[in-house]
């Protein structure tokens, strides 16, 4: 293998400009590949980590679940805990900046909220406190201790105001569970800021089931229980709600994969052409190599490594660029709720596989040509 390296280097060095251009375009293609497949991976990871014990219960028509319904659900079989939730949504500062705080009730019903016991306890002292993830804090330009308002027309307050005042208790690390970032407030603040008539109404319930395998059945049972009541429900395991939501706007997975493939296809053509041309230009060299005893496989391997080396380097540079770009994507495109692309081992593996496939495919046609090389004719200058 090592004896090939000087030969490969010589071939690449001789056409420096072409090698650099190829390297750059492979880099660009893999920057695209990394960010696209990374976005896809981030969405898939968010679905993988979903707590399958959480069943979300909402009102089928309108938004007026009552506390009493929560108690009934808690008494049903397979239900371990029930907790209420609500959203304060509106805008922060600029009407274009949609903002919401998810108001959460208790740790037992919210296993999907990444807060420690001490953090849950902080709400007893500061009812209007919120915990933001770094991503959300960056989007809103807030830090620990800041006080801010969310203007909401849809969640009426008892005082008749539209502004919900919050204080940032802490800025926490993002978790894969909440790929778009998170902002959690206290349900007690939500409850007691609304008019007495509204206080018994929850936005939705989170039922935590004992046996996640029967979560679907529990959801069906909850809906059946309230089917003929004044407030019919619609229940679904959180994992289903998430996968529906992921495709509600754009089927991100489908789009990102397609774009990544188009980029690879372009680069495949380019490297294949580059390899073919380089072989064509150096037929006499290969004839010499074959004369001095290189096998067909040896010569093909040489061409393969020549195609692979810049592609591999370009892919590595591209993935590094993708990693650097990824950190900025949520901030560059707020509002779309895109997660930070996650360059998982699987994505890097796919990139590696793509590079090797790229080099292999680029070598197929030149290899056939090399195999049928008329060595005598070429050395005699007749071909």
């Amino acid at each position: 293998m090592l004896k090939y390296l000087p030969l490969v280097w010589a071939a690449l060095e001789r056409r420096t400009l072409r090698t650099i251009l190829t390297l750059l375009s492979v880099t660009v293609a893999f920057t695209l590949f990394g960010t696209m497949m990374g976005t896809d991976a981030a969405f898939r990871r968010a679905e993988d980590v979903i707590n399958r014990r959480v069943v979300l219960v909402g009102a089928r028509f309108g938004d007026n679940l009552t506390d009493g319904m929560g108690q009934q659900i808690a008494a049903m079989p397979n239900v371990a805990a029930v907790s209420a939730g609500g959203n304060v949504f509106g805008y922060y500062r600029n009407p274009k900046t949609h903002a919401y705080v998810m108001m959460v009730d208790s740790a037992a019903g919210w296993p999907n909220v990444p807060l420690s016991k001490a953090q849950w306890a902080q709400w007893q002292a500061r009812r209007d406190g919120v915990f933001l993830s770094h991503l959300r804090a960056t989007q809103w330009g807030l830090k620990k201790g800041d006080i801010f308002n969310i203007v909401s027309a849809s969640v009426p307050r008892a005082d008749g105001e539209h502004a919900w005042r919050f204080e940032v208790l802490d800025v926490l690390d993002d978790t894969p569970y909440w790929p778009g970032g998170f902002s959690f407030g206290s349900y007690q603040y939500y409850r007691y800021s609304r008019s007495p008539a509204d206080q018994a109404k929850a936005g939705w319930f989170q039922a935590v089931v004992k046996d996640s395998a029967r979560a679907d059945n529990t959801a069906v049972a909850i809906d059946a229980r309230f089917a003929d009541s004044a407030i019919p429900t619609r229940s679904e395991p959180e994992v289903m709600t998430r996968s529906d939501a992921a495709t509600a706007a754009v089927n991100v997975a489908a789009v990102t994969r397609r774009v990544a493939l188009v980029g690879l296809f372009m680069i495949l053509l380019l490297t294949a052409h580059g390899t073919a041309q380089s072989v064509r230009e150096r037929l006499s060299e290969f004839a010499v190599l074959k004369t001095v005893g290189y096998s067909d496989a040896g010569v093909t391997a040489l061409v393969f490594v020549e195609a692979l080396a810049p592609a591999l380097l370009g892919a590595a540079l591209g993935l590094i660029a993708a990693a650097l770009l990824s950190e900025r994507i949520p901030a560059l495109l707020p509002g779309l709720g895109l997660p930070e692309p996650y360059l998982s081992p699987a994505v890097i593996g796919e990139a590696l596989a793509a590079v090797i496939l790229l080099a292999l495919l680029s070598v197929v046609l030149p290899a056939r040509k090399l195999k049928r090389l008329d060595v005598a004719a070429i050395l005699a200058g007749r071909a």
Binding site: R18, G62, H162, T241, M266, Q277, L336
Partner: protein, 389 residues
């Protein structure tokens, strides 16, 4: 004149030799085609959706929303407030002297989507007694209009393609039982065309919805909006804002389209950069292959510029061909295809304006890709080129 002729002659000679470099040329063509196809398909989603939103707004109408509300369905207007608004000046009146203004309800209904089989929200809107005067673009294209006071609804023509069981003759589950869909309507291909519509009073009764989402009014005359605004914003009994309906839909559509445009351009820019580098690469090797030919031309007396011009023209023509192919692919795959964004079903359009944009991108790639190789060709030492034979 001679200069021009030599430019054209050099370009012609160059293009004649393209056949020999067919595969290399195809790399540029396919690369640019990929870029333009991706650009147009991504942009067509945003622009078609934006147009569907914008078509829903009319400058002759105003939308009145509760203060602080972002849009319809967010916040509430009470029946008492709605009555005060309908009496305000600035609103057009019909032959009987009634204000052409209706409070409307907009709400989400759970239905299953065709594509995922999962739940999605279809929007249900309610119309009042002056709806036909208010919305002249509304017409029934199949079945009939719902009868006021009946448990019936009509469906927008785009909705059944995306949502299950909302077609003509289907029954939609409502709190008091299933309501039949008795007709299909069109509204100028706007976003309303993917909604369900029923009678406001019936919907309020069955949903136990005490409040309205908005009041839509037809404006009287050119200064109707100003008069209306003055009347309702100075009335202490109302906490509402009035906005020209066309402005409202422009504003709302910008909320998603600005970001989506950024994303589409970002992705296409990266892809375009890849294609640009590929084009530079290919054109450089084209110059290398033709070095004898180029040197011969120069020796025959062709100037440096015509030779460079020929290379640039090659780059432009190849990428333009790619652009046309890419636009054709995007048009063939996506034009007229139905798409969905949350609860808005709409038709994709790969419009002439978009295609023109795609071709501009193609030309830019060709132009930028050709510059360096063209300069390289022009500065090629003649003697060295001739010796290469």
């Amino acid at each position: 004149m001679i200069f021009l002729r030599s430019c054209l002659a050099a370009a012609w000679l160059n293009l004649m030799s393209l056949k020999k470099r067919l595969w290399a040329s195809l790399v540029v063509v396919v690369g640019v085609a990929c870029v333009v196809a991706v650009l147009l398909s991504m942009l067509s989603v945003t622009s078609s959706l934006r147009h569907a939103w914008q078509r829903a707004g009319s400058p002759d109408r105003a939308i009145i929303l509760p203060t602080g509300s972002q849009g319809e369905g967010d916040g509430a207007i009470s029946p008492a407030q709605a009555a005060i608004i309908k009496d305000a000046p600035g609103i057009a009146r019909d032959a009987k002297g009634r204000a052409i203004a209706d409070p409307e309800i907009l709400m989400g209904l759970d239905v299953r989507r065709h594509d995922t089989g999962g739940y999605g929200y279809i929007l249900m809107r309610s119309f009042g007694p002056t709806a036909m005067a208010l919305r002249p673009e509304f017409r029934i294209v199949a079945g009939r209009m719902y009868r006021p006071g009946k448990r019936e609804m009509v469906v927008g023509a785009e909705a059944p393609g995306q949502f299950q069981n909302v077609g003509l003759g289907d029954k939609v589950e409502m709190p008091d039982g299933p309501w039949p869909v008795v007709g299909v309507f069109r509204t100028n291909d706007d976003v309303v065309q993917s909604e369900l519509v029923a009678d406001t009073d019936m919907l309020r009764a069955v949903m136990r919805h005490p409040a309205y989402s908005s009041v839509i009014v037809r404006l009287a005359g050119a200064d109707g909006l100003a008069v209306l605004k003055r009347a309702i914003t100075t009335n202490p009994a109302l906490q509402v804002t009035a906005e020209r309906q066309s402005d409202y839909y422009n504003r709302r559509s910008a909320e998603f389209s600005d970001m989506n445009d950024k994303l589409s351009y970002g992705v296409s820019l990266l892809l375009g950069l890849g294609a640009l580098l590929a084009a530079v690469n290919i054109l450089y090797s084209a110059v290398a292959i033709r070095r004898v030919e180029i040197a011969t031309l120069r020796a025959l007396g062709f100037g440096a510029f015509p030779v460079a011009f020929a290379v640039a023209v090659e780059g432009l023509l190849l990428s333009l061909t790619g652009g046309v192919i890419g636009a054709a692919i995007a048009y063939h795959l996506f034009d007229g295809v139905q798409d969905i964004w949350y609860n808005n079903a709409f038709r994709l359009a790969v419009s002439p304006a978009l295609i023109a944009l795609g071709l501009v991108w193609a030309l830019l790639i060709g132009l930028l890709g050709g510059v360096l190789p063209a300069i390289h060709a022009a500065r090629f030492p003649i003697a060295e080129g001739l010796r290469a034979t």
